[in-house]
Symmetry: C2
Amino acid sequence: MWASAAGSRLSELQRSVALTYFKRHELFEVLTDSQLDILIDSVRQFDLQADDYLYHQHDHADSFFLLAEGQIKLSIIGVDGKQKVVEIVTPGKTMAEQVMFMPEQAYPLSAQAINNTTLYCISRNSCIQLIQENTEFCIRFLGKLCIRVDERLNEMISLTQETAGFRVAGYLVDLLPENSQDGYIIVLNTPKQVIASKLSIKPETFSRVMSSLTQKGIVRVKGREICVKDIEGLKAYK
Amino acid sequence: MWASAAGSRLSELQRSVALTYFKRHELFEVLTDSQLDILIDSVRQFDLQADDYLYHQHDHADSFFLLAEGQIKLSIIGVDGKQKVVEIVTPGKTMAEQVMFMPEQAYPLSAQAINNTTLYCISRNSCIQLIQENTEFCIRFLGKLCIRVDERLNEMISLTQETAGFRVAGYLVDLLPENSQDGYIIVLNTPKQVIASKLSIKPETFSRVMSSLTQKGIVRVKGREICVKDIEGLKAYK
């Protein structure tokens, strides 16, 4: 199943690095020190290179993941035989937690590394144990799933309702940290065709919108760096 | 907020009817008799007439619902100012449970009755209490949310990937009970324009697909009754 075998147990150094990632994640920050210790003991680490698959659609799902470094694209093969990107997972995010409690435990999407990527693998069993032991963790996990439903709903609405321009602008806005100032520089680590696929537009359309944003003085593009000169203009772009 | 005020407490008769609905729902069937008793004591009943709103998008959300009779459409107002139906809720289904544990407790969609409708309202507080008391209920609730994420994902994929014909056929297939035989009659209680909106197609397109299905001998339509003559043909229709 796994592109890189079964993942590896953590070394002492990896363990302390992992601990910092888990401690600052909203899902795991509610664990007691001893719960966190037990969890980290069961965690496996996956180091993937660009294009490596973590799992394929329909593979048996008995784990979810916390992404530490790199990017993962979640995709399906469309009716046209081409890969359609559904989500781009970025560092600090969990993925596939929404599969843990489904009757049919199978990954609904394929997961493939966009660049060099490190993930922590949390087993369903560890997850169930924590849910049973820690009500706050359970509530956080429920919250995570509720947000996931909402995200999918918003994507669905976006796909039926919004223009390509609005989607591209919205994608860039989502990359801005809270309270960003005009002049903030986004470094685009995700290939253009992956972003275009996620937004259900053609790569040419993505380029056309970026040109229009540049002409309007909203952004300035230099290689992979996008300087957002006018955040309000970006938010209002349609 | 509510079209019909705050709902009503259950009479003795209503209580015993409600009990049957809750007992046969996969979410609540794991409750003990005493947990179910306490839950039913806190449940409120809403009886809506066609077009009544249960709540509007962005209303404060402190309850979710079990639909007993009738149909509810969940919708947003699209960028064109028209109502866009996102989901049609049918008897025996819960709705809005995915809002209970979100940081921002607001309904993401409006809920409006399609026809005469009876719902049971379960408060967030009752829900939290049950989650804390009953691990199996908690796991079922998590499962419910996982399925909801998957449903939204599939809808999203359908909207970007599938033809209008495939979507209409898929909608009809979903209305067939398991192990249906050729000749099964579906009674379409949902107005055509509501179904079309949910499938993100025009009502004319819906009619055109129905004509094509009729011409191909896959269905026979008589008023609101659709006789599915060839279930495999319907499943394969694109």
